[in-house]
Amino acid sequence: MSASAALRSFTNGWSIDQASIPLLDQDAFAQVLLDAVAEGQRVVALFGAQERDAVALYAVLGNDEDNLLCAARTNITGAGFASLTPRCPQVHLFEREIAEQFGLVPQGHPWLKPVRYQPSWTGRDAWGRAVGVEIPPGVGDFYHLDGEEVHEVAVGPVHAGIIEPGHFRFQCLGEPVQHLEIALGYQHRGVEQAMLGGPHPRSVHYAETLAGDATIAHTTSYCQVLESLSRCQKTARSQTLRGIALELERLANHVGDLGALAGDVGFLPTASYCGRIRGDVLNMTALLCGSRFGRGMIRPGGVGFDLDMDRCTALLIQLDAFDADVHAAINLLWSTPSVMARFEGTGPLSRQAALELGLVGPAARASGLARDVRQDQPCGVFRFAHIPASAVDSGDVFARAYVRWLEIHQSLRFVREQLRAMPAGARQTPLGPLAPDSFVVALNEGWRGEVCHVALTDATGRFRRYKVVDASFRNWSGLAYALRGQQISDFPLCNKSFNLSYCGFDL
């Protein structure tokens, strides 16, 4: 029997009954997951949820080829479960998170360490720490190399620039990095716990700020959860406006990243111009909704702001100026030998490594993995307007930069097309009550990659579990792996080529 037959299939953004998700015993659950991955599916989420007498593990798998998701669950009544990481590396961090949140030990996990340095939700601690004892972040055993000439470099949590905090521990032999270990959790604010019992008045604001530069992507997923649970039919217009907002968010961040990459190699022309041009795109988002980061734009049932003809025209004019500016600024990169010499061959991540680690977003596409939620699990306007996934296969800093350049073209074309052909309709549709005992997965392609929100409701239709998986949750491991063998002085460049979220990981 193929793995798919043992799993419950559904589409992105379509809620199902929790009871319809097959409840398997631990061995069958493990086998089904491994078989699905062997067949080419990927693990979208693997997380725990408190049941009455057990902790349930839910697995959500992505069958990108068939544009379907599938799910299975198992109940853990004991102190732990057999780790799948040795046979399926992409679940490594999910299992650590389950250990930290629920106190269940994944036996045989090759690197069982805390994820966010937070106390367990169940009072049972996977590392045997006493309840109520403070857990200092980043304190513990780091992977260590011994040797006379080995030196260990520690960076963070506070970093030199205007950037979020995290800890990086390098093991170096001279300039080349032998190993990088990343310890996060400094930004942990307790979002998943705060979502319980919701939706609350603050829930949408948590969605907007859990990764504050990816507001549109996360808030769209959150709103889709609510809309799915209430079977709300959004208008075509509101879905188009959401798509425009999402692509403007992508444009702003990609332009900013290319400028920052130029800055990291000391190429000031592009760095200066892109620093400004990014602001021009943020101002386009603000033209829509008053906020450069899209706060207030995405609301349950649709969007918070509409566009009249004058505003559409103003946006199109600004996009024309952006088009000219961004080409002049960014094409300099590809024709400047000193830039290309720094970009090419730096921080390479093979397609095989990206596949095994389960990477998503531009970082995955730069390693030849052409996965993109807009193409593979489309929802909203992306079911009707196709944006081809942009992929390059050298897997180095150049590839991660060039993928962004290709995506800038695609997003610009998409926004222009949508603005010129906006469907009529209301900007928002009222929501009905939320279905009880349901399960919904809402995926969106944020600019860093796949943003995943999973919600389980209780008998009254309120959230009894809310799981957020930002693209960064998967991709930080990719950065750590890509640094191996690289010069430590290339770390800022490699880091910027991924540009991951700390707070999106830490929640």
Binding site: P165, Y186, R295
Partner: protein
């Protein structure tokens, strides 16, 4: 080389002339300073209070008159304005919001005073600190749980459009090189010690600037066990810049007021080229 020069010609000179000239236009849908219309509240109505996700709206004991707004808790989401049945509460595009004291962020419509109450905008540093920092202010940024929006729109002030370098403002890599801290985020438990150590490492005299609702009050994360309701829980704060996130012009205006470049002797080029204040 030629292409680089061509690009430079195409991009042009983009640094704004503010504060010598009026500030650039802010987005017309920007939710800036709230406006409380006098006498507009229906008897007993609490729609704005009920709509506010962070408790920024309160009513005085007298139960007469309008609400009290705490801009330090405000996310500028305008859910209160959307809920108001008489449009007694609206948001203007007024971008000047920074204050020196926490209590100056609270605007009252329920006591005697101006009909449309406004925050008491930040005054310049005292003369001793002005002599030290007025022409050279080196800041260390600490993100203590910030979502990266306040960080990004602070960072943008270093780009060519704004260029805070022309005011002597610079961000430095180490607290030992700094004159003060610029803090974002609600101060998560996991960043508390790092923030304390960074603050301690800044030589005296030093100042602290809190940017954004999280850094002032915890923002959406008020009351979370994982956070500490803002920077003032750990360090003394000299400048509060509200918003979620504050517009870059709001942040810059706050910094320039602190340095006495704006708002001194009644000269305030806060009004923009469109003639509106």
């Amino acid at each position: 080389m030629l292409k680089i020069l061509q690009a430079r010609m195409q991009q042009g000179h983009r640094t704004i002339r503010y504060p010598a000239r009026p500030a650039p236009a802010v987005p017309d849908r920007l939710r800036g300073h709230p406006v409380l219309a006098p006498g507009g509240c229906p008897e007993g109505c609490r729609a704005c209070l009920e709509a506010c996700p962070t408790g920024a709206v309160s009513f005085g004991h007298a139960h007469t008159g309008g609400p009290r707004l705490d801009l330090g808790r405000c996310l500028f989401c305008a859910q209160c304005a959307d809920a108001c049945p008489t449009q007694a509460l609206t948001f203007s595009t007024e971008h000047r919001l920074a204050t020196r004291r926490r209590e100056d962020l609270i605007i009252n419509a329920d006591k005697g005073g101006p009909d449309t109450p406004k925050v008491r905008l930040a005054q310049a540093l005292e003369p001793r600190l002005m002599r030290l920092f007025g022409r050279s202010l080196k800041l260390r940024q600490v993100s203590a749980g910030g979502c990266n929006a306040c960080e990004a729109d602070t960072n943008v002030l270093g780009t060519v459009g704004w260029t805070w370098g022309r005011f002597g403002i610079q961000f430095v890599a180490a607290p030992r090189h700094a004159d003060g801290l610029l803090i974002t985020g609600p101060v998560t438990q996991n960043m508390k010690l790092a923030l304390e150590k960074t603050y301690d490492a800044v030589p005296e005299p030093k100042i602290v600037i809190a940017v954004g609702a999280c850094a002032i009050s915890g923002g959406p994360y008020q009351g979370h066990a994982q956070a500490n309701n803002g920077a003032a829980s750990v360090v003394p704060v000299d400048l509060f810049i509200p918003g979620c996130p504050p517009h870059p012009l709001t942040i810059l205006d706050g910094l320039l007021r602190l340095l006495g470049r704006v708002g001194v002797d009644g000269v305030d080029n806060g009004n923009r080229g469109d003639g509106r204040a």
